[in-house]
């Protein structure tokens, strides 16, 4: 079951939000500069650069460690396993990301840009969710 856990926002420090913002902004600028210098064919590769993946995964590890430390336990290993689960989810998201790019590639020269971008974003959301649900069901059946 997918749910929202708003309380997890409190676990992230303001400095961590700033780091994400700066990383995200820097990667967007980098993609633009590379495209300007080497052309759109090379610059396009950076549209799928793992911009905030390293900082996001390490945040998951540190939050898990803090949670365990409150209970007097060492959560280092559990934190790393949690980061690994996050990476598995990101891998599934990448399949949907490739479909997103495919829709933009084929659709932008012909159709309205807003419609293509909206359709590609919707496709990313649906495909990523379906892949996640299929994988979860398979794991459930394997463990059952």
């Amino acid at each position: 079951m997918i749910e929202l856990k708003w309380s997890s926002l409190k676990e992230t420090r303001p400095s961590e939000y700033v780091v994400r913002f700066v990383f995200g902004g820097a990667c967007t600028v980098l993609a633009g500069l590379v495209a300007k210098r080497y052309g759109p064919s090379v610059g396009g590769l950076f549209l799928a650069f793992p911009a905030i993946f390293p900082s996001g995964a390490s945040l998951i590890e540190s939050h898990e460690k803090k949670r365990k430390a409150k209970m007097g336990l060492d959560g280092t290993l559990r934190g790393r396993v949690a980061a690994s689960v996050d990476a598995a989810g990101a891998a599934l998201g990448c399949i949907a990301l490739a479909v997103f790019a495919l829709i933009l590639w084929k659709g932008l020269p012909t159709y309205n840009a807003y419609a293509v971008i909206s359709g590609a974003t919707l496709a990313w959301t649906c495909i990523a969710t379906i892949l996640w649900a299929v994988r979860r069901r398979r794991e459930f059946h394997r463990l059952a």
Partner: protein, 115 residues
């Protein structure tokens, strides 16, 4: 210069928004999907179309497919290494970034040569 500042601000905002979604969504495996959200593409594609046109943006999107394949390979290897060896997450994710670059640029180069 002003274009770079706009790119920076929009990029930072969109990437932060997807990161926030990843923070609040549960279970973790589902939230992980947002690590590969098209945040940089969404932040930059509108500006690219406005400045260089749809065909230019479509060329970028074609290469983005190879970047996504590189990201898939990178995320899969990170997942395996963390699960198998339980190394420090930040160190692992940064040290393995060349896998993204190698796969993405390798595919791009191979396809550019063969076409």
């Amino acid at each position: 210069m002003s274009e770079l500042i706009i790119r920076f601000l929009i990029g930072g905002a969109v990437v932060s928004l997807f990161a926030l979604l990843g923070d609040i969504l549960r279970p973790k495996s589902f939230a992980g999907l947002f690590g590969a959200a098209p945040s940089v593409a969404l932040a930059t594609i509108g500006l690219t179309i406005a400045k260089n046109g749809s065909q230019y943006a479509a060329t970028e999107a074609r290469s983005m497919i190879w970047g996504a394949v590189g990201f898939f390979t990178y995320a899969s290897v990170v997942c395996w290494v963390l699960m198998r060896y339980k190394l420090d997450t930040l160190l692992t994710t940064i040290c393995l970034l060349p896998i993204w670059a190698g796969t993405s640029f390798g595919l791009w180069y191979w396809l550019a040569r063969s076409s």
